[in-house]
Amino acid sequence: MVNFDLNGAHISFEVPTTMTLLDMLRIELGVTSVKKGCEQGECGACTVLIDGYPMTSCIILAPQVEGRHVYTIDGLADDPLMKELREAFMENGAVQCGFCTPGMLLSAYALLRDNKRPSEEEVKTAIEGNICRCTGYVTIIESILDAAERIAPD
């Protein structure tokens, strides 16, 4: 049995110890915004926030989130910072196939929460663990910088 908070709601769930957090979220709890890509912790499509920090849910076992707070983009739908990011992504055309987008948004969210005016280098570092294979990195980086400017104008 694992007890944790998912997007602000308490969850108690019977889960085998070999199940990953990713599989529990997608298959058992129906949270399909968390994408399954490489399953090696490299592509970042399965990124979630655990106690606020981005981690790849494909290499975390479900029982290891006992007592932790897990957030996906679903739980941040009305969050002002996430709204700015989402709008910036749409306006800049930073979404092609969309597979990397939830993970990108969560990595960008954690960055801007802790660093209101990141440099371009800091943005690149923040998303180095999120692979986009449509190679839309330029527009993604611009979107994150745009969102930063909107939330904290000079």
Partner: protein, 290 residues
């Protein structure tokens, strides 16, 4: 994709509990962040193990400065190390190296103890710890002892840890005014393994190189020190020529192999480049000028 198989997960809340499991269970394997281990369970056929998750044991996590030493718990994440002012001040090379490990997601999850016990010859946290004179605390249920960190490594992916032992902690001297630097070359800038890495530690007395330590990674079956080169430059007056001499001599210490990340020849050449950069930077950080 295939589900994970071949293991069970145990989460002892205490250190004694973990050590008991290590000594009583067959095929017990400690796990911290799991960033190296978990992906290996995608391959069917790995022999079943009991994963002993150290993540709940609070005393294994954190960074303390005490009695002139820095103590680091094995489950301290790379992100915790990057955020630590103590590490930034007293072990700048380790601070440098931690920023290069994995990605944000991996640094938030992966731990220094895991990076060491995984025993990759390319592990970025090792050369900095070696030049800072780190020791490793090895413990079983019966006894504990400290060993020089260099002795932890037996070969690629092999440590001297017995099946009932865990790495309990790390320590190295906290000395003000020293300089250290970590340098690496990867196939790209972000989220990649080092093709070669190097760390340098210096103590300065005016323009004299009072103490010099050099460690190299990914150029031998385990990370190595370069004691012969260190002896040659220790006590000398610092100069560009001395840096060139030390960097060139390190090439002879390296015995790399060709692999998918780079050739032995390239690794040897880059060893000199990285040692040179690290010596410059460490000397600068120690307040020295050239």
């Amino acid at each position: 994709m295939k589900p994970l198989t071949g293991f069970s997960l145990l989460r002892p809340p205490t250190l004694v509990g973990a050590l008991e499991m290590m000594s009583t269970l067959e095929h017990a394997q400690p796990i911290a962040g799991g960033t190296d281990i978990i992906p290996t369970f995608r391959d069917l056929g790995s022999k079943p193990v009991h994963l002993i998750d150290l993540g709940l044991i609070e005393e294994l996590n954190g960074i303390i400065e005490e009695d002139g030493k820095i103590l680091i718990g094995p489950t301290t994440t790379h992100s915790q190390i990057i955020a630590s002012k103590v590490i930034e001040n007293f072990a700048p090379a380790l601070h440098d190296a931690s920023r290069w490990i994995g990605s944000v997601q991996i640094r938030n999850r992966g731990t220094i103890g895991g990076n060491l016990c995984n025993a990759s010859p390319a592990a970025d946290s090792v050369p900095p710890l070696l030049v800072h004179g780190a020791e490793a605390h090895i413990c079983s249920l019966e006894e504990g002892h400290w060993i020089p960190l260099l002795e932890l490594f037996k070969g690629p992916k092999m440590t001297v840890l017995e099946p009932n032992e865990i790495l309990m902690g790390l320590r190295f001297p906290a000395i003000a005014g020293i300089g250290s630097s970590f340098q690496r070359i990867g196939r790209r800038k972000g989220f990649t393994l080092s093709v070669v890495n190097a760390a340098v530690y210096v103590e300065r007395n005016g323009d004299e190189l009072k103490e010099a330590r050099i460690a190299l990674g990914s150029v031998a079956p385990t990370p190595i020190r370069a004691p012969g080169v260190e002896d040659k430059v220790r006590g000398k007056k610092m100069s560009e020529e001395l840096i060139d001499e030390a960097s060139a001599a390190c090439v002879e210490v390296a015995s790399p192999i060709d692999d998918v990340r780079g050739t032995a020849e390239y690794r040897k050449d880059m060893t000199a480049v990285l040692v040179k950069r690290a010596l410059h930077e460490a000397w600068r950080r120690a307040g020295g000028e050239l």
